[in-house]
């Protein structure tokens, strides 16, 4: 029975779909398996963002904390999703709290390691950026719809 390597786990994940085999080898070198118990904090707002997570099982909640209101869940990320993009740009700080809702298994990828590999191989960097851009666009679209409060009653215009 062969053990599943980080590389195998990444190859299965849709975020990396279509990447050349060589890329996967390079990236896998930056990754480790992680697991979180349900309820555990995966990241806190303000913490150094030195890694991001490629979720394999379970899901996490992205939250913003407001005194008096408590924690507000603004998005969730499950199998196939990616959590964390603050590692991409300085100041490399988590902007939101992230909490494991269920038990979560993920691959944690080291930000500095990946940034280094991308600097050495810009083509790899481009391919990673492409994938992140796609996630961000999709997230932005969803967020805009959530903001539009489509299910709210809206202002009741005077009914003649």
């Amino acid at each position: 029975m062969s053990t599943t390597t980080i590389r195998d786990l990444l190859a299965d994940h849709r975020f990396f779909a279509g990447l050349p085999a060589a890329d996967l080898d390079l990236i896998a070198g930056c990754g480790v398996n992680v697991a979180f118990r349900a309820g555990a904090m995966v990241a806190r707002e303000g913490d150094p963002a030195d890694r991001f997570f490629v979720v394999r099982e379970g899901h996490g909640a992205i939250e913003v904390h407001a005194p008096g209101r408590g924690a507000l869940v603004v998005a969730t990320a499950g199998p196939g999703d990616v959590i964390g993009w603050s590692w991409l740009f300085p100041p490399h700080q988590w902007r939101f709290d992230v909490r494991a809702v269920t038990d979560v298994r993920a691959v944690a990828l080291d930000g500095a390691c990946l940034r280094g590999k991308a600097d050495e191989d810009p083509a790899l960097g481009y391919r990673l950026m492409e994938r992140f851009a796609r996630i961000l666009v999709s997230r932005l679209e969803s967020t805009r719809l959530q903001l539009a409060d489509l299910y709210g009653t809206g202002e009741a215009a005077g009914v003649p």
Partner: protein, 359 residues
């Protein structure tokens, strides 16, 4: 003829001068007809003029058509009384027992409009009140001798001569003596004509009527571009912004249009809440709340409402009913307080659009 129709129990509705216009109203007899009156119409303008002769129908159309008599502006559909746990709809009151009407002096465009209403209101799911009103009406139409500058029935194929849809159709001749040539359209018409003194027309009579018809055609200068049917291909044309800046969204065009059929249903109650009624009344797509659906209207700006009216009337009507909604009567042009001429708007839009397609 009028006396005979009245004797048969018809309420006579005919053209008559009132409030500076020739309107359709109940008349008692020939003395109420607008003898010697003509009209001068243009975009945003209507006035009467003295003709200097005794012509009874020497004018074009006024603000009204057969519409108000076949589909009344307001109509109580039913009334109901409150009961301990609900309500009870009362049996139809005899309000619907109107006398039959004889519509005198309708023009060919009016008859065409009735033919359009037959499709919009008496199609697959007919409005029984309309069907009944149609059944009980007698139509004495008149071919036009003096079209107004606002008329464009030659573009829509609906005038100026009556070709069908009448019980009786008249062509008025003034010289050498005042007489009318009558065309019989239906058995009911033949029946009425039997009881009135009449004779066969001479060949001079027939030639005179034909000449008058040709003269009327020649007098009609306004044109509606046949490409009006393709208006829905140009929904974002800048001309819509242009006309929206002029349009007051007052809905006058929809009020005078003989084919508009939109209605609103209003539920009312008395102060005690003991008795309720449902009233159906004319509505205009220019009303802001016409397209209101929880929270706001779909057509919030004048641009979208004007566009809706024009594209529906000239284009999508074809798809819905197999016919144009416009009969070229020109009322909307004369009675628009801003003087908007839909033939000019259409020309401006299809002109550009055609150039884009050809390029």
């Amino acid at each position: 003829m009028l006396r005979h129709l009245a004797a048969r129990g018809y309420q006579l509705i005919g053209p008559t001068v009132r409030d500076g216009a020739i309107v359709h109203a109940p008349i008692d007899g020939i003395e109420d007809l607008p003898a010697g009156w003509g009209d001068v119409q243009s975009a945003g303008s209507y006035r009467l003029r003295r003709r200097g002769d005794g012509a009874l129908f020497g004018h074009a159309v006024g603000p009204e058509s057969a519409r108000r008599f076949l589909t009344p502006p307001t109509r109580t559909l039913w009334s109901a009384i409150r009961t301990p746990d609900g309500f009870e709809v009362e049996v139809e009151v005899a309000a619907q027992q109107q006398p039959p009407v004889a519509l005198i002096g309708l023009r060919p465009c009016d008859l065409a409009a009735i033919a359009v209403q037959d499709r919009t209101l008496a199609g697959p799911r007919p409005d029984p009140a309309y069907v009944e009103a149609r059944r009980r009406s007698f139509v004495v139409a008149v071919s036009c001798s003096d079209p107004a500058s606002t008329c464009f029935c030659t573009s829509t194929g609906t005038g100026p001569t009556v070709v069908g849809g009448h019980d009786l159709a008249l062509a008025e001749l003034l010289h050498p003596r005042h007489r009318f040539l009558v065309d019989v359209g239906t058995d009911a018409g033949a029946d009425v004509l039997e009881a009135i003194p009449h004779s066969s027309p001479s060949s001079e009579d027939l030639e005179a009527v034909a000449a008058a018809g040709d003269a009327a055609v020649a007098a009609i200068r306004r044109r509606l571009d046949p490409r009006a049917r393709e208006l829905t291909a140009a929904m974002e044309h800048p001309r819509w912004d242009d006309v929206a800046a002029r349009c007051l969204s007052c809905g006058s065009c929809t009020l005078v249009c003989p084919t508009c059929f939109c209605t609103s249903v209003v539920d009312t109650t008395d102060l005690a809440g003991a008795r309720a009624a449902r009233v159906q009344r004319w509505e205009s797509c220019f009303a802001l709340d016409h397209s209101f659906v929880h929270g706001g209207s779909v057509r919030v700006d004048v641009r979208s409402r004007y566009r809706q009216w024009l594209t529906h009337k000239l284009a999508t009507w074809w798809e819905q009913f197999g016919i144009s909604g416009c009969v070229g009567c020109g009322r909307c042009i004369a009675w628009c307080p801003a003087g908007i001429d839909l033939t000019a708007e259409v020309a401006a839009i299809v002109q550009d659009h055609q150039q884009e397609v050809d390029a």
